[in-house]
């Protein structure tokens, strides 16, 4: 060993061979990642293990991408750890099978706001409208920024087909008819949500706005586990 480490030892020789040195470095850094990642792929954790977990509807997918655009993940986690306090506060802890259609995953690393992975169904749709427009109106001391433009900007459904085709290539089981009828399906779900909102005394005419997509996504979160199998 010492002949290796001496100032005239074998490591010194290695320092004269950049190509060999670089190759050894690459090998050293590849080992760890490979050993840890291969089993994860081979175990096929991307196969459904919870039968009630289904792909996002077109509108939910749109809402999810808006959630990504706004960077909600920088304040909200979507991963409940198996601790008594977290289960008490947020609900059942997160399972691997729940996020198989999540591209990208949105587990987050910081809880400036509460975890959202079980927020679906926790509040009525109207609450989310009021909250996103002005968080202080529902939660007095909230630090959350207002997102009032979600109520005024039209939701863009043009690229839905491209998005769903892309996801299908990667393995999300959307059928041809899912993709063909995507825009129509999204519009139908949007007007349902908009109707609930106006029926409960909220603003009219939100069916074409971004906010309904975000709400569709928020209301979906965590509901897969409890929905009955059909």
């Amino acid at each position: 060993m010492s002949s290796f480490l001496n100032t005239d030892g074998r490591h010194r020789t290695l320092e004269g061979w950049p190509l060999v040195f670089t190759t050894l470095t690459i090998l050293a850094v590849l080992v760890g990642g490979t050993v840890e990642f291969l089993p994860l792929v081979l175990m096929e954790t991307n196969r459904p293990t919870i039968s009630t977990v289904t792909p996002y509807t077109p509108l939910e997918l749109t809402g999810r991408d808006l959630y990504i655009r706004e960077g909600c993940v920088s304040c909200h986690s979507q991963q409940i750890r198996p601790f008594r306090d977290e289960i008490e506060r947020y609900g059942e802890y997160s399972k691997p099978g729940e996020s198989i259609y999540d591209r990208p995953f949105l587990w987050g690393s910081k809880r400036t706001g509460p975890d959202l992975s079980r927020v679906g169904g926790k509040y009525p749709d109207l609450w989310h409208v009021l909250h996103l427009e002005d968080p202080r109106s529902t939660s007095p001391n909230s630090l959350m920024p207002p997102y009032n433009w979600l109520l005024s900007q039209d939701v863009n459904l043009d690229n839905l087909t491209a998005k769903m085709n892309g996801l299908r290539t990667l393995g999300t089981p959307y059928t041809d008819s899912d993709i063909e009828g995507a825009v129509q399906d999204a519009k139908a779900q949007a007007s349902n949500i908009a109707r609930t909102i106006s029926a409960s005394g909220g603003p009219q005419g939100l069916e074409t706005k971004e906010i309904v997509a975000v709400i569709a996504y928020l209301q979906r979160m965590g509901t897969d586990l409890t929905k009955s199998q059909n």
């Binding site: 050293a28 850094v29 590849l30 080992v31 960077g71 506060r89 198989i100 990208p104």
Partner: protein
Amino acid sequence: MEKTSSPPIGASSNPTMLTVRFDDQVVRYFVIATVIWGFVGMLVGALIALQMPFWQANLGQYLTFGRLRPLHTNAVIFAFAGNAIFAAIYYSTQRLTKTRMYSDVMSRIHFWGWQSIIVSAAITLPLGITTSKEYAELEWPIDILIAVIWVIFAINFFMTLKIRREKHMYVALWFYIATIVTVAVLHIGNSLAIPVGLFKSYPIFAGVQDAFVQWWYGHNAVAFFLTTPFLGLMYYFLPKAAERPVFSYRLSIVHFWSLVFLYIWAGPHHLQYTSVPEWAVTLGMVFSVMLWMPSWGGMINGPFTLRGAWHKLRDSVVLKMYVIGITFYGMSTFEGPLLSVKTVNALSHYTDWTIGHVHAGALGWNGFMTFGMIYWLLPKLWKTDLWSNKLANAHFWIGTIGMLLYVMAMYSAGVTQGLMWRAFDGAGSLIYPDFMETVVQIVPMYWVRLVGGSLYLVGMMMLGLNMIMTIRNAKDKPTDAAISVPA
């Protein structure tokens, strides 16, 4: 075009000797870019630090916290720290290999290409064009540009090694090699995605696998962007400033190889108690704890290099900055393994404790090592005295105080909130079921952080002023340094 040499200068020059003139112009560019982007990135940092306790500072759709936070992290990591390590690499590699960089054109493409990547980030992130994966938020067209520029940088660097005039590669170069190859591997691995539009893509991995790949990348971005290049920087610039050889050659061999081998395994410590399989996160934890040793190997080689030179600290702001930098490297690499331990992570994860850890490393280690290097380089690159040593000393103090306030505030906020989240009363129900109760409690700490961060930002501005004035005092066109080598 002038390549690796220029005609000998001076009457007495020996015909068997050749003068090699270094390309210091590109180093000047990178130094200036470091200071500018450092200011911008930290200004955005201060703005998001204000937005947390004061929501009114969310200035409309494009300037909300969610969109600016990634802008802050990208600007400080890839623009501030990035340009700093390029300055260090271009300056020291030429000297350590006794040759000019292989290609001036590639060096320029690297510089301007990198700045255009940063500008694209500064435009797309506020527009909400993001992958949302931490430190890899930029969308696929920019990812491709990054890969291209990085490859050009790599070719330029490795060709310079090839034409070197010094047989053995000094330890700083080992760390640069590790940085360049590993960042390439990580960037490509974590950016594998299929485009579904010009500004939108979906990653090829989903859920658990995507999380794993992301933190394999994320952790090693810390390791190979914020650690190994800075160790290389330390190994070159600290002995230069202290005028002492590196303390232990053997230690550098042992800690180099163990560091590059172990770091990669540690990624899953970011996913403790999540849906990622138990064995993977346990491996991550074990390797993180082992990482403590090689990290401290580097940390020890630094201060011990100063043996017999400690008195120099009194007059050298550069050395003072390095000492703070290395101390905080030691602190954050002691804290990191601790945070990886499951029971600690159960408390710290999701809280401001992580933010405290991040900024101890970022402000203490990356920031101060960069500042020290720049104060040392300014007079050398512009061939004149530093404009104000007093101002540099003031920067040292205001930066140190600012950082301490920042870090202390975050530790206190993190531990407080972590404990409140898990507090149960005797009857078995949560004492603070309302999330906002736990937030209101730590808002004062957010204000303290803002004060600390602002002080640190003021220090950055002092550096900017010192740089501008030093450059103004310099000769119109500073000459690049040259050495004589046997022809």
